[in-house]
C-alpha cells in the first residue's frame, strides 16, 4: 500500500466533497479545492490521446478558476441546468514525495429545467493531490472526457 488508511479516507472525502460542491450550484466553492498554482483542464480524450495540447477549458491558476466562476454566474448567457456527478472510487497510481497521482472515473448527468436527465459528460479525472494546511488540494485536475461531441455547450465545472 502506497498510502496509509487515513490518507486514503481523506482522498475519498476530497472526491466526494468536490462532487458535492460542483453539483450544489454554489460555484464559489469550486476554486477552493485547488492550490493557488494549479492546472485544471477539461480536454477531449481525442486531443489527450493524440497529444494535441488544446483543451476545451484550460486554467493554470486558482485566479483563473475564480474568473470562470464570474463567467458562469455573471457573463455567459445559457440555459440553466442541474448537474449531477457520479464519481468512481479513486485509484492512487503513484506517490512522489507529497504528490499523489490519483485517477477516478466520472459521469455527469445534465438536467435542464422540466426536461429529462441525460448523460452529459463521461470520462476520468487525472489528478495530482497534495496535503496543505487546509487539507488535501488539487495541484492538477484533468477531466479527460469520452463524450467528445459536447451537447451544445459546457458552462459549469466538471
Amino acid at each position: 500500500m502506497m498510502i496509509d488508511m487515513q490518507t486514503w479516507l481523506s482522498i475519498q472525502q476530497l472526491y466526494s466533497d468536490y462532487a458535492s460542491a460542483v453539483d450544489s450550484g454554489q460555484w464559489d466553492l469550486w476554486p477552493e479545492f485547488f492550490t493557488d498554482q494549479c492546472v485544471y483542464k477539461v480536454q477531449s480524450r481525442e486531443n489527450h490521446e493524440r497529444g494535441f495540447p488544446l483543451a476545451t477549458l484550460a486554467f493554470t491558476s486558482k485566479a483563473m478558476l475564480k474568473d470562470r466562476v464570474y463567467g458562469i454566474s455573471e457573463t455567459i448567457y445559457h440555459d440553466p441546468y442541474y448537474q449531477r456527478h457520479v464519481v468512481g472510487a479513486p485509484i492512487v497510481r503513484k506517490v512522489e514525495g507529497e504528490q499523489m497521482h490519483v485517477e477516478a472515473n466520472y459521469a455527469v448527468f445534465r438536467t435542464k429545467y422540466d426536461k429529462e436527465s441525460t448523460v452529459y459528460n463521461v470520462g476520468r479525472y487525472l489528478d495530482i493531490v497534495v496535503p496543505t494546511e487546509q487539507g488535501l488540494k488539487f495541484v492538477q485536475r484533468l477531466c479527460i472526457f469520452d463524450s467528445e461531441m459536447i451537447p451544445n455547450s459546457m458552462i459549469y465545472p466538471i
Binding site: 488544446l54 491558476s61 483563473m64 464570474y70 445559457h78 451544445n152
Partner: protein
C-alpha cells in the same frame, strides 16, 4: 416531391421566414445546391495528414468523405461509400494506411480512390478445373472507383467539391475574401493544436448568420464589450464577395476597459464596468506581424466554414449539417511552425474564450438553440434583420445586419432558380 412555397414578406431579405430553418425539403435542396454542387466545401488542413498514407475522415454536407495523402504526396478526397454495397466502411477518424479496404467483401482501393482489388473477380476454380462465379467479363474496375471529389488547396487549407465543374477556388472566394484568407494562410506551415466539437440543435445557417452578425458580439458577449475586443465603437469594416455569400468582419481592438464613454457606446447592461480579471493572462495579447492592423477577422465562407482570427487565437470552424434542425460544429485550433512556445501557450490560453465552453462562444450555441426552438413552433413567422437598413452593401462600421441580408440574397437566387 412538391415543396411548399416559402413566403417572404418583402422582395428583399431583411425578413427571413422561419420556414427556411424548419422545412425538410428545403434542407435537402440546400444540401444539393450548396454542399454537393457548384461550391467548395472545407474538409481540413494539410497539417492534419502530414505523412504519406495519412488520412482523416470528415464530411461534405451530410456525406462522409475521407481526405488522404497518397504515396506520391498528393491529397485526395474520396467518398466513404464502397462502390460495391455502399458501406461507409472507414470507421476510424484518422490514421495511416497503404490502401482503403471495405471489410465486407474486401474490395480494396488506392488512396486516390481507384479500385484495386475485387476478390473472386475471375471466379473460383474447383480442383476439377471448373470456374465458378466471378464478375461479368465486361466488369471494368475503372468504372467502380470510390467517388472522387475535386480538391483545391490554398495556404494549407483543403477544400473539396463533388462537382467537378465547379469554378476555381480563387474565383469561388473572390479577390476580397482571398486577400483576407491569404493574410492568415500566408504559406507558413500550420501546426494542429487540437479539436473542439459540439452538437448545436439549430439549423446550420444560423451559425453562418451568427458570424455575419457584428451586432451581437458587443452586446451578448460581455468579455468582448468589457475588454474592448469587439465593440460597436471599434474601427471596423464589413466586406463581401460579389455574390454576397461570403463575408469578412474586420475589427481593430479599442482601448476597452473602464473608459467612461464605454457604457455610453454600448448602452447595455452586459457591460461590466467593474469587471477585472483575477488572472489577466487570459488577455495576454501580443500583436503579430501578419495582422497588418486588424485584431480580429472573422470570415464566413459559404456554406461550410468559418475562419477565425480573434487576437492570437486562430481556428477553422467546420459546419456539418445533420438534418434541418442540428449541426455538428468542429473547431480546429492551429498555430504556425515558427511560433515560439510562449506564442503556442498564448494561443491555447486565449482558446478559453472560444469553443463550446468558451467565455465568449458558449452563448452563441445557446442562442442558436433558442432561436430554433421558436422557429419549430411558429411556422408562419419571420426574423428581422433590418439594422443598418434593408439593403445589402459593404460598410465601414458594424452597426448593421447587411451581411445576413447579403447571404439570403444569394440564398434566394440559388434556391429559387
Amino acid at each position: 416531391m412538391q415543396e411548399q412555397a416559402i413566403h417572404w414578406e418583402t422582395k428583399g431579405t431583411s425578413r427571413i421566414p422561419f420556414a427556411v430553418y424548419t422545412d425538410t425539403d428545403i434542407h435537402k435542396k440546400e444540401l444539393e445546391r450548396f454542399f454537393y454542387k457548384a461550391h467548395w466545401n472545407y474538409v481540413g488542413l494539410e497539417a492534419e495528414i502530414p505523412n504519406l498514407g495519412d488520412f482523416k475522415r470528415t464530411v461534405v454536407g451530410e456525406r462522409s468523405v475521407i481526405m488522404t495523402r497518397s504515396q506520391d504526396g498528393q491529397i485526395h478526397v474520396v467518398e466513404n461509400v464502397c462502390a460495391h454495397r455502399g458501406v461507409a466502411f472507414c470507421r476510424e477518424r484518422h490514421g495511416n494506411k497503404k490502401e482503403l479496404v471495405c471489410p465486407y467483401h474486401q474490395w480494396s482501393y488506392a488512396l486516390d480512390g481507384n479500385l484495386q482489388g475485387v476478390p473472386f473477380r475471375r471466379g473460383v476454380r474447383t480442383p476439377e478445373g471448373k470456374v465458378n462465379g466471378g464478375m461479368p467479363a465486361d466488369f471494368d474496375p475503372k468504372e467502380h472507383s470510390l467517388t472522387k471529389l475535386k480538391v483545391a488547396i490554398r495556404g494549407g487549407v483543403v477544400f473539396a467539391s463533388f462537382d467537378h465543374d465547379v469554378e476555381s477556388l480563387e474565383d469561388f472566394m473572390g479577390p476580397t475574401m482571398l486577400s483576407y484568407f491569404d493574410r492568415l494562410f500566408n504559406g507558413r506551415k500550420l501546426t494542429i493544436l487540437g479539436y473542439n466539437k459540439q452538437r448545436i440543435p439549430g439549423n446550420w445557417k444560423l451559425m453562418q448568420e451568427n458570424i455575419k452578425d457584428p451586432y451581437h458580439p458587443g452586446l451578448l458577449h460581455t468579455w468582448f464589450v468589457t475588454f474592448g475586443l469587439w465593440r460597436a465603437d471599434n474601427k471596423s469594416e464589413l466586406r463581401m464577395d460579389d455574390k454576397h455569400r461570403h463575408a469578412a468582419m474586420i475589427s481593430t481592438r479599442g482601448t476597452g476597459g473602464q473608459a467612461n464613454q464605454t457604457a455610453q457606446v454600448t448602452q447595455v447592461s452586459s457591460f461590466k464596468e467593474s469587471m477585472q480579471l483575477n488572472d489577466p493572462s487570459f488577455l495576454d495579447i501580443v500583436p503579430e506581424p501578419w495582422w497588418n492592423g486588424p485584431t480580429a477577422v472573422m470570415m464566413t465562407l459559404f456554406p461550410s466554414v468559418i475562419i477565425q482570427q480573434q487576437v492570437n487565437s486562430v481556428s477553422t470552424r467546420h459546419i456539418q449539417p445533420d438534418g434541418h434542425g442540428a449541426f455538428d460544429f468542429v473547431w480546429t485550433h492551429f498555430g504556425f511552425e515558427d511560433d515560439s512556445s510562449e506564442m503556442t501557450e498564448r494561443r491555447l490560453r486565449q482558446a478559453n474564450l472560444f469553443g463550446p465552453a468558451g467565455f465568449v462562444s458558449a452563448d452563441d450555441g445557446e442562442v442558436i438553440e433558442f432561436s430554433q426552438e421558436s422557429f419549430e413552433v411558429k411556422q408562419n413567422h419571420r426574423t428581422l434583420a433590418e439594422l443598418g437598413g434593408r439593403e445589402v452593401g459593404e460598410t465601414d462600421h458594424m452597426v448593421t445586419e447587411t451581411l445576413i441580408r447579403g447571404m439570403y440574397e444569394y440564398w434566394r437566387k440559388v434556391m429559387e432558380a
